[in-house]
Subunit: 205 residues, 2 copies
């Protein structure tokens, strides 16, 4: 019961690393079980097929990401009462967190799954879609709260602005991986922060 959980987690840890560096289709069950030192039968005891592994991987990933985001912006809110400044602090914390990843961000499963869409059945794709829509809703709420206090300097759609947070992170991860410079992701988040500042902070002069 407890042991099974541990083995399952181990399989998923190994699979996640492989999927993020080779794609889902190129990740063989054979290599996963070899690294986990388990038999193929053992693997299929935990996951009835590869698609179930995909679903489990994505769900676990999304849960930890949500927890990290909650934690990060909660901490930021404790550092400043004002919604705008709290969010700016949150972005700074996020940037620092990304910069502290020793060998760069390992990659986002949401992005991988997008570029592997044909490999998954509808429900896995739907989980992915709804996760991104939750991110949209999360940041939309933040920006509406900010806009209630600070009138924006440009007429922007707040849904698009909310999406921009995810866009920058997803794009930043790709860029970091492509040029092999982990700092690019952290810098891009700071660029987003610069935009939010210019958009909502009253001009100082």
């Amino acid at each position: 019961m407890r042991k099974g959980r541990a083995t399952r987690e181990k399989l998923m840890d190994i699979a996640e690393v492989a999927v993020l560096s080779k794609g889902f289709g190129a990740t063989s069950i054979e290599e996963i079980i070899a690294e986990a030192e388990i038999t193929k039968s053992g693997f299929f005891y935990h996951f009835k097929d590869k698609n179930e592994l995909a679903r489990a991987l994505l769900q676990r990933y999304l849960e930890t990401e949500d927890r990290i985001l909650d934690n990060l912006f909660d901490r930021a809110s404790e550092l400043h009462d004002d919604p705008l400044h709290a969010f700016l602090i949150g972005l700074k914390l996020m940037s620092e967190m990304m910069a502290d990843l020793p060998s760069g961000h390992p990659g986002c499963l949401v992005a991988t799954y997008c570029y592997n869409e044909r490999l998954f059945d509808r429900d896995v794709q739907e989980i992915n879609r709804e996760a991104v829509l939750r991110w949209r809703a999360r940041f939309l709420a933040v920006f509406e709260e900010i806009a209630a206090v600070y009138p924006p300097s440009d007429d922007v759609d707040f849904e698009a602005l909310a999406d921009m947070v995810s866009t920058i992170v997803e794009g930043g991860i790709v860029m970091s991986k492509a040029v092999r410079e982990p700092k690019v992701l952290a810098e891009q988040i700071m660029m987003l922060r610069s935009y939010i500042k210019l958009l909502f902070l009253p001009v100082q002069n």
Copy 2:
């Protein structure tokens, strides 16, 4: 001689669609030759192995992308002499181009290759890396030209700003694919445009 080129292009067209929707590892040579109505021997006449297909795909993709970017910003420059306004027009044109893609952006090979890094040898990865660095150089030149005329409202690193263009496009593609809303990519490019406006355009009041 001419016939061979056509077959090669056909194989690459089929492969590119498959790679962008399933990843490189999950794209089988078998399915490519089935769709192209050719034999496996015929395939290996054109590409000595799968890695050479990968290289050819990437190189062709990068060439067409560069041509599209050249064309787009050249057209923009013809519409306005000022570097800032020309670039803002360029972003608008880019956004409209993305919005006009009937079933959304098919995906970027650079991003796919990032999330499939372990599948390719060093030289393919290096081609990918240098392509992104060329994008950086391209937009860096643009922003330096703009900054020579318009002092930026915030102290930003121009290399990071240059990377932001690619970041927004890469991230926007992922977001569009994830939520299955082609317009998201076009909107994100307009968000970038909004930032550039706030960053360089003198405050109007």
